[in-house]
């Protein structure tokens, strides 16, 4: 194939669809989508479940501070996912691993600080009550994860599995942070398995979504290539 024929073939294809496109928003702006979603989750938590029983005793900052901090953490995690929508921006593994470890440490540490300011609550709650936290955090994170995955699908990330993982964990951190306004159990024995566990499971689901997307991307690329060659 000559260089000229390469250009002619591409030019024909390009001229078929030369509609103007709007560039993607910069990741720091796009990640702000988390704010309305956080507000939506907050509304659901307040209207459906209500504040935790010891909210008045806790005071403003110990109650709202960790929740706000977790929304900020989720913003950073989702920002790291959205940065990778642009193909030339791939995050190295030490950076994303450090980010996720720090995010989990902040989440567990924040809950522990709340525990210190309230005194140790008894841990003799039924398993069903604890599992409810897991289920609600997981459920509340779904809208954020879907929106972030949709935003990611508009780009061309190199590592769909990684961005899926970040989207899942980002969504999990938002809902966990806000759901903490309702859950009165701040002991690590509860927080680590049922809250952090939910975030990790959502991350794993995001990773699976990324895996599926990666396969679909490959199939669509192979199909597109065959169609192009046939023309």
């Amino acid at each position: 194939m000559t260089e000229d024929s390469t250009f002619d073939k591409i030019a024909r294809e390009v001229s078929r669809d030369l509609a103007a496109v709007t560039p993607l928003r910069p990741p720091r702006t796009a990640a702000l989508v988390i704010l309305p979603l956080a507000f939506l989750i907050l509304s659901v938590v307040l209207l459906v479940y209500g504040l935790r029983d010891d909210a008045a005793q806790l005071g403003f900052w110990p109650l709202w501070g960790p929740a706000g901090l977790m929304v900020l953490v989720a913003y950073v995690v989702i920002y790291f996912a959205l940065v990778q929508r642009a193909p030339e921006s791939t995050v190295s593994w030490p950076r994303w691993v450090s980010l996720l470890v720090a995010a989990v440490a902040i989440q567990v540490g924040g809950a522990y600080l709340t525990l210190l300011s309230t005194g140790t609550p008894g841990m003799s709650v039924p398993l069903r009550t604890e599992a409810l936290c897991f289920a609600r955090i997981s459920l509340l994170s779904v809208p954020t994860i879907l929106v972030v995955l949709w935003l990611l699908s508009r780009g061309l990330p190199f590592r769909p599995r990684l961005v899926g993982l970040l989207a899942g964990m980002g969504g999990g951190f938002v809902s966990e942070g806000i759901y903490r306004l309702q859950c009165g159990m701040s002991h690590p024995e509860h927080v680590v398995p049922w809250h952090t566990g939910a975030v990790l499971v959502m991350g794993a689901l995001g990773l699976l979504a990324g895996l599926w997307w990666e396969r679909r991307m490959l199939q669509s690329w192979v199909g597109g290539r065959a169609a192009f060659t046939a023309r």
């Binding site: 073939k9 560039p23 030339e88």
Partner: protein, 179 residues
């Protein structure tokens, strides 16, 4: 690139004119197959067209275009793996690659290209991106998903290996001082 995003065909032509030679060299370096390069170049430009919205105005265009080309190459490689086609790593001779200026005085062009072929692919890629296409180590890190310092180490190791290979090939070296 911004004009191309706005639907200007002449901007695409200009982009092709500027980028095609560089991308052809890059894809040659990745595939080491002249026959695959032209197909992948087509695919890279089509993918760039489909993904033109992912270019963020104000950023340099070349790293973006190289990243799209790399994406196409990885798809091609995954497709081969998926179909279990065991192609020879180096199929049809030496591709028409630019020679890194850092070693061009050490041997003939053919000898340099043959020595490049002996390098591990990750080192060769980093070396060519830095020494031939002028990418900074930060840009290479971002493109390959590695740390800047790793990109620097890979490049330096590759250039050092390349110099050793050329010295072994031509001990008197055309001006090579053995360092």
């Amino acid at each position: 690139m911004v004009a191309y995003q706005g639907g200007d065909f002449s901007a695409f032509e200009e982009l092709y004119r500027r980028l095609a030679p560089k991308l052809r060299g890059y894809l040659s370096a990745l595939t080491w197959r002249a026959s695959a390069t032209e197909d992948l170049l087509q695919e890279a430009f089509l993918q760039m067209h489909r993904s033109r919205r992912t270019y963020l105005p104000g950023r340099p265009v070349t790293p973006w275009a190289f990243a799209v080309a790399r994406h196409v190459y990885l798809m091609h490689r995954r497709d081969i793996v998926r179909r279990s086609k065991h192609e020879d790593a180096f199929g049809d001779g030496v591709p028409d690659l630019p020679v890194p200026p850092a070693v061009e005085s050490l041997a003939t062009r053919e000898a340099v290209l043959l020595a490049l072929r002996e390098l591990a692919q990750d080192g060769r890629e980093a070396l060519l991106l830095h020494h031939v296409w002028g990418f900074s180590f930060g840009e290479i890190g971002s493109l390959l998903g590695i740390r800047e310092v790793t990109a620097r180490v890979r490049t330096h190791r590759a250039i050092s290996t390349l110099r050793k290979l050329l010295a072994a090939e031509n001990p008197r070296g055309n001006g090579y001082d053995g360092r």
